[in-house]
């Protein structure tokens, strides 16, 4: 009876609903979309025109539209007769194709950790280097940016693995490279970051630090398309450093002189109150433009992009501009044959690099300019011998450097498919880079009130010109054979081949001074090395080359897309080692496995988890970077630099440049990872997590010379990096008009040097130390326990045997408890590697508006403030030094202002917390709707406002807490160039 009623009701409301399904991006109908009624077995599919018709039981029915590669859509029927649907491409495509080393593969077939980033994410950002814009977006990748125009970021993937070349390998359209200055972010289609052993082993001796693969845009099938992007904006220093002003300086300096027992200073000639940071910084303008045209037919795909960017630095007169050209064409000769060409070129005018150290060290009591004499002031005598006024570099030496870089990177390839399953591809790639520069050193005259007469202080009395040319060449050939087949639920892709790589450098330089003649004029047309006295001519040149030959192979296998196995092997030989060294050829390999749990039958009954893959891999990777100084580490090279002088003659001499180790071999990184990938809740949630562990053995490191020994490269030790990477995104369509997504990633890094030659051996690089049992490059020094307040306290404390101490000096901790403060009381006082790095991004789309917010941060690292620790000159004081000790109880951290050596030792007083949280990017855009576009004759038009680095929260006192460096010395602030806040307005349109 009851069921009768129900079915009667159902029968009464059963009706037909119809409609059309189209793609949201292009408005084209999608055939084959599955349309089902939720909770029932009623279903149909859309036809070729995207139309569908379905019977629904009632108004409360819900229709589900799903299509592989698209996000599922749910529509409550209500009382609608016609329901039209727009489908968006899937946020997490299972069919996604990613670029891996030497080929492409579907992401679902891979056992490794590869993060794919669409080019549009870096295209609109105000940075000329595309990888800088990835900061905080990719788990496991730590990016430290520099604020200089045209600078390359310091990138470390999964920790610091070795000492030379901590950065990843770049593969740009197949060519292996170590810098990507020539790329225009607008020409990039996608960036893949490869992190784990099963993806990296195929790169053999270049894969240890991770690989970033960049693919430039190619034409998509369809009609002719023009794309134009333009961004204009400005950048400025967001966080100037807190220094004292003239009154503060006078107060502290007077106190210092009293504490040192010296005569008071006469300020009568030094009455200025200058903020040197304001004097040297400017608001820099930037403008990026890009125009591209692409077209594709059945047989031919063509893309060309032309870009012009111009950018100013934050210090006055720094400018940088570049022109880029990207060109590629692919011709399908017939069904089986394809040839193509790819070219990226660039010409850049480089900025004359300036430093901030002089501006933060110069005393504020020095005025800037003397009107009467028409010259800039020098600095007071307590610092003028070692530091010149910042205006000398910024103004008197402005525009005295003309540097140009040219780069042509290209490849040609031919690909042939035969016997149904085989593909043979051969590629010839080359990279030719040419850098030239001309520079001039002008006369420097400054005004010095301490001299009588006209007060002219001639700092540089001789002009000179230099010319420089460097040529970098890389030639690579790839010969790859791929076999792809599926039989009986087994799917197999196998690749084998070999590749050769040649890398060389040639450089020359020349210089002349004015000799006994007139000064060389400050006009670029005279800056060639035939102006000046010929008897003052000096010149030099150098070159190096290196070649590698490698055999590589890889198998990607899966059974029913459920059980995956990836195996790869590579054998590399390198010219850097001596022929009779058996380690000249080395093997690298990896194996990875994965289990797609979601494909199993027992998972089909639940609907929360859409995709779950559990994966793990293990491999041996290699690193071949030996740094610029050691191009031929195994050869005992002599240097003909240091000549002998007898009377007035110069006689050339030879000495060994470094100790050559004939048994030198490449470093090997043993790495493994285990993790999972998850998509759930109708692909709204996606999670990727992995635990990684990398151990670098036989690290090549310089053994520093001791007792006259020359430094030399040897295989020294072992470093381990391990941690956890976790990334998750939730994206959801709230209603027709509003979608949002929230994502975050966090990576922990634990770095430890496991072994270094022998017990007690250390590598010192400046104040950073690397030793067994500690993280690489850690800071080693004394621990400050406060300040001695009184003489009684000094007497009652452990005796300081290093310096004589007085009240107001830093009290160091007696670490070894022997009652004395000696060199043995030094310990680890800081670690420049962070405990973890993280990023959060929020995206909101409402009708035509889109809002994206990226946040990033770093936690747990320390910075060592070194720019004001030296005693070679008097520096300006930082604001926090106003809290100095000047009587009992006035301070227990900031020591007395004095020149005493005790307070300049390497200690925790100079350690600052390097953790920071930064609002990395905020972008608000608006996409014009169809009607407006049709009126304008455009296919798409978007305008946007972007703010990069607007707010940074940190406790460090420098311009920026982001301080890179080398592997054994980083996080040391010697006066770091600021990272700017950049505000831009942009437009991109297609027609």
């Amino acid at each position: 009876m009851f069921s009768c009623l129900v079915s009667l009701q159902a029968y009464a409301q059963e009706r037909t609903v119809s409609g059309k399904v189209v793609g949201a991006e292009d408005g084209l109908p999608i055939p084959g979309v599955s349309v089902t009624v939720e909770g029932t077995s009623i279903g149909t599919a859309s036809d070729l025109d995207g139309n569908y018709t379905i019977k629904v039981p009632g108004n409360d029915a819900v229709l589900i539209f799903s299509f592989l590669g698209m996000s599922s859509v749910q529509e409550a029927v209500g009382d609608r007769q016609v329901i039209n649907v727009e489908m968006q491409p899937d946020a997490a495509e299972l069919e996604e194709v990613v670029v891996i080393g030497y080929g492409t593969a579907q992401k679902r077939d891979l056992t490794g950790s590869i993060v794919s980033i669409d080019g549009s994410e870096v295209a609109d950002k105000p940075s000329t280097n595309p990888v800088s814009s990835l900061q905080g977006k990719v788990a496991g990748v730590q990016i430290t940016n520099s604020g200089r125009p045209g600078a390359t970021p310091d990138i470390r993937i999964r920790g610091t693995n070795n000492i030379y070349g901590t950065g990843p390998l770049y593969v740009v359209d197949g060519i292996l490279n170590d810098n990507i200055n020539f790329l225009n972010p607008s020409d990039i289609e996608s960036i893949e970051v490869l992190k784990d052993p099963s993806s990296l082993a195929i790169f053999g001796v270049r894969g240890a630090n991770g690989v970033i693969i960049i693919t430039t845009k190619q034409a998509r099938a369809g009609e002719l398309n023009f794309n134009f992007n333009s961004t204009v904006g400005f950048k400025e220093v967001a966080d100037p450093m807190d220094m004292v002003d003239a009154d503060g300086f006078k107060m502290l300096y007077d106190e210092q002189l009293v504490n040192d027992g010296a005569q008071p200073y006469d300020y009568s000639n030094w009455t200025g109150n200058t903020n040197w940071q304001d004097q040297i910084f400017q608001r820099g303008m930037l403008n990026y433009n890009n125009l591209s045209v692409s077209g594709a037919s059945e047989k031919n795909k063509f893309y060309m992009g032309l870009g012009y960017t111009t950018e100013q630095g934050m210090i006055k007169h720094e400018k940088h501009n570049r022109i880029t050209l990207s060109l590629n064409d692919e011709l399908q000769l017939n069904d089986n044959l394809k040839v193509g060409i790819n070219f990226n070129g660039y010409r850049a005018e480089m900025p004359q690099e300036r430093n901030v150290a002089a501006a933060i060290r110069a005393a504020p009591i020095a005025p800037v300019f003397n009107e009467e004499a028409g010259m800039y002031y020098t600095l007071p005598d307590f610092q003028r011998a070692q530091i010149w006024s910042p205006m000398v570099d910024v103004e008197l030496r402005k525009n005295t450097y003309i540097g140009r870089q040219y780069r042509a990177v290209g490849s040609v390839f031919g690909e042939i498919n035969f016997l149904d399953h085989f593909t043979f591809r051969t590629t010839l790639l080359a990279d030719y880079g040419f850098n030239q520069s001309r520079s001039y050193s002008p006369l420097i005259n400054v005004y010095n009130p301490d001299i009588g007469g006209d007060g002219i202080d001639r700092l540089v009395e001789v002009t000179s010109v230099s010319q420089n040319q460097d040529i970098f060449t890389k030639v690579q050939t790839d010969w790859l054979l791929t076999y792809k087949n599926s039989f009986n639920d087994h799917n197999l892709t196998a690749t084998a081949g070999w590749t050769s790589y040649y890398n060389s450098f040639e450089g020359t330089n020349g210089r002349r001074t004015q000799g006994g003649g007139d000064p060389i004029p400050n006009d670029p047309r005279f800056w060639y090395v035939d102006i000046g006295a010929s008897d003052t001519q000096t010149g030099g040149g150098s070159g190096w080359e290196r070649a590698t030959l490698s055999f590589l192979s890889r198998v990607l296998y899966n059974y029913k897309y459920k059980y995956l196995l990836n195996v790869s092997y590579r054998r590399d030989g390198s010219s850097g080692f001596l022929p009779d060294n058996p380690d000249r050829w080395q093997n690298f390999a990896s194996v990875g496995g994965a289990w797609v749990v979601s494909e199993e039958d027992f998972m089909r009954s639940q609907s929360a988890i859409d995709y779950l893959k559990i994966k793990g891999s293990w491999g041996v990777l290699g690193n071949q970077n030996t740094g610029d100084q050691y191009r031929y580490p195994a050869y005992p090279v002599l240097v003909t630099g240091n000549s002998a002088v007898f009377g007035d003659q110069l006689i050339p001499a030879y000495e060994p440049e470094y100790i050559a180790d004939p048994n030198l071999h490449w470093e090997r990184v043993y790495a493994w990872e285990a993790g999972f990938e998850l998509q759930a809740f109708q692909n709204r949630l996606s999670v990727e997590a992995a635990w990684y562990n990398k151990k670098t053995e036989d690290i090549m490191a310089i053994v520093p010379g001791s007792l006259g020994a020359r430094p030399g490269l040897s295989n020294e030790g072992t470093i381990a990096n391990k941690g956890l990477e976790f990334a998750a995104t939730w994206s959801q369509r709230l209603n027709d008009d509003l979608t949002f997504s929230v994502g975050g990633n966090i990576t922990t890094i634990h770095n430890e040097v496991l072994h270094l030659v022998r017990e007690g051996h250390d590598i010192f690089n400046g104040i950073s130390r690397t030793t067994k049992g500690y993280p690489i490059g850690y800071f080693y020094g004394f621990v400050s326990d406060g300040i001695y307040q009184t003489d009684t306290e000094i007497r009652q404390s452990p005796v300081n045997e290093i310096n004589e101490v007085k009240p107001g000096d830093i009290k160091y901790r007696d670490i070894n408890g022997d009652g004395r403060i000696t060199q043995d009381d030094r310990t680890m006082i800081g670690n420049p590697t962070p405990d973890f790095i993280y990023g959060i991004s929020l995206n909101l789309n409402y009708r035509g508006f889109d809002l994206g917010v990226d946040l990033t941060g770093v936690y747990g690292n320390e910075i060592f403030r070194d720019w004001n620790r030296g005693s070679f000159s008097q520096f300006n004081f930082q604001k926090h030094q106003l809290d100095r000790w000047h009587g009992v109880g006035t301070s227990n951290w900031e020591p007395i202002i004095s020149s005493r050596a005790n307070n300049r030792l390497v200690s925790s007083y100079y350690i600052e917390d390097g953790s920071f949280f930064r609002v990395r990017n905020i972008q608000l855009g608006y996409r014009f709707n169809q009607q407006t576009l049709e009126r304008l004759g455009l296919k798409s038009l978007r305008i946007f406002l972007n703010a990069q680095n607007p707010w940074t929260f940190t406790n460090a006192t420098g311009f920026t807490p982001e301080i890179g460096g080398s592997a054994t010395s980083f996080g040391v602030d010697g006066g770091t160039y600021p990272v700017p806040a950049i505000y831009t307005l942009g437009v991109n349109l297609n027609f």
Binding site: L257, A262, G541, T640, V645, E655, R710, E804
Partner: protein
């Protein structure tokens, strides 16, 4: 389609031919260093090239710059750190107030540069072992051994016990050897100088300033003098005098002028070259002691300034006083320039006149810092005084008086009213006279501190001079902490520290 395939086939075969012909070289991986010699390439006769590299080692601060000055001169009663009041206060604490620390840049530089020279010398000596011994090779080895002995003589005086490295360092670990005793180091010095004396020529036509037999003998004399071996010292010093290559013909005030570099008085001189076109081969000897003033008087750092005690040590009318001290606030000979007066910030009434540069050379090189100024390490007058001292200690009083008079006569010049000849035959009084003569003849020439140490009077002289921080242990410096750290503890610190 067939036509297309045929075309493709042609292209591929051509590519294959090209590839096999050129690309697949067996020696693709053979890449020798470009633009560099390796040790296998050394052309014959290049041992000399390596010796010349060793000479370049003398141009480092540990031998000819502020590090050397600090260890040899600033510590004495004749000189102070100098410079501005606030400049280098930690150096003043170290070297004037004897507050030694184990981690100090001047200490590190002195140590490192000396061992760098020793390594360069060892490279030559070891390389010579594998070559045929001919006279040219032997002479080169002699030069290298002189330099090694010179470096070790400095080290043994400054530190006492140091590691003895007389081999070529191949593996970095080879360098970490424990310290040797003072006697063992002197044994090496003696052996090296014996060999140098036996092979070096008397002079080098065409190579002014290159190491001669006279230089080796002079250094030998000094090493014997420091160990109170009077007979050996006298023999060596007289050996120099008998070569006939040196004399005291140059007037005193002319010795330290640029035109008299490598003169008949010069026994061992560190060479420097600096012009507008060649700026890499100068030394900092004059730069680090140049007048610290402003504008055209910014001649350098102004370190190592003479003290009032030295000024008062000269006998009345001694012309050597004006040749040793450059006076602030008055016109000075020989260029007639007026040096600016002392100020509150730079309260130095005297500067080292033995590095006072010629203003016309300052103009022609475009540098005020005097990087072209050679460093006179051993002069003939020094040798003569060593002979006098040794002779006196042996009881040959007349010989001692004659040698002493040679030096005084030259200083006196044509003015017989000053510097009366010394006539006393009492050994003690004559000893005092010779010591006084050493002080005023070789003032500001970096002999004073170690002379005081070897005479055993250093503490009383220091305390009397106001340098009351001096204690007996301060005659030896501490070993730099960074070397102890690098050696992993194999090198131990000096017991007194």
């Amino acid at each position: 389609m067939k036509a297309l395939y045929k075309r493709i086939l042609w292209v591929l075969s051509l590519l294959l031919i090209v590839w096999t012909g050129s690309g697949c070289k067996k020696d693709w991986l053979e890449r020798l260093p470009q633009g560099r010699y390796t040790e296998d390439d050394i052309p014959a006769g290049s041992l000399e090239g390596q010796v010349f590299a060793a000479y370049a080692g003398l141009r480092q601060n540990g031998f000819s710059g502020v590090a050397y000055l600090a260890v040899h001169s600033i510590r004495s009663d004749d000189a102070d750190k100098g410079s501005a009041v606030g400049d280098g206060v930690d150096a003043e604490n170290f070297f004037d107030n004897f507050q030694y620390v184990t981690n100090f840049w001047l200490l590190n530089d002195y140590w490192t540069h000396h061992f760098d020279l020793i390594a360069l010398a060892n490279a030559v000596i070891t390389a010579a072992d594998s070559l045929e011994t001919d006279s040219a090779t032997a002479i080169n080895v002699g030069e290298a051994k002189f330099l090694r002995a010179y470096a070790y003589f400095d080290l043994v005086r400054a530190f006492g016990e140091v590691p003895l490295i007389d081999f070529r360092i191949v593996e970095p670990e080879d360098a970490y050897v424990p310290k040797s005793s003072v006697n063992e180091i002197y044994e090496l010095i003696d052996a090296d100088l014996e060999e140098a004396v036996s092979v070096l020529p008397l002079n080098w036509p065409g190579f002014p300033g290159r190491i001669t037999r006279g230089a080796a003998l002079a250094l030998q004399a000094k090493t014997f003098l420091y160990r109170d071996q009077w007979a050996a010292a006298l023999a060596a010093a007289e050996g120099v005098m008998n070569t006939g290559m040196y004399d005291l013909s140059l007037p005193y005030e002319a010795i330290f002028r640029e035109e008299n570099e490598n003169s008949r008085e010069s026994v061992f001189e560190i060479q420097a070259l600096y012009t507008q076109g060649q700026t890499g081969y100068g030394i900092n000897y004059a730069t680090h002691q140049g007048v610290r003033g402003a504008g055209e008087w910014n001649l350098g750092w102004g370190w190592n300034t003479p003290t009032e005690l030295l000024a008062q040590a000269f006998e009345p009318g001694d012309p050597r006083k004006d040749a040793t001290l450059l006076y602030s606030g008055q016109v000075n000979t020989p260029y007639g320039e007026e040096v600016p007066p002392a100020t509150a910030n730079v309260p130095r009434p005297y500067w080292n006149k033995k590095v006072y540069t010629n203003p016309s050379i300052r103009r022609s090189t475009g540098s005020q810092a005097g990087q072209w100024f050679n460093m006179r390490v051993i002069r003939y007058a020094d040798v003569v005084l060593m002979a006098a001292e040794a002779a006196n200690e042996l009881g040959s009083t007349q010989k001692a008086l004659d040698y002493l008079e040679m030096v005084r006569a030259r200083a006196r010049g044509s003015d017989n009213s000053v510097l009366p000849p010394v006539t006393t035959t009492d050994q003690v009084a004559l000893r005092e006279a010779i010591r006084h003569e050493r002080r005023v003849e070789l003032g500001m020439e970096n002999e004073r501190f170690f002379d005081l140490v070897r005479w055993g009077i250093v503490q009383e002289v220091m305390h009397a001079a106001g340098k009351t921080g001096y204690q007996p242990r301060h005659r030896y410096l501490p070993i730099p902490q960074q070397e102890i750290d690098r050696s992993g503890g194999i090198i131990e610190q000096n017991e007194d520290y």
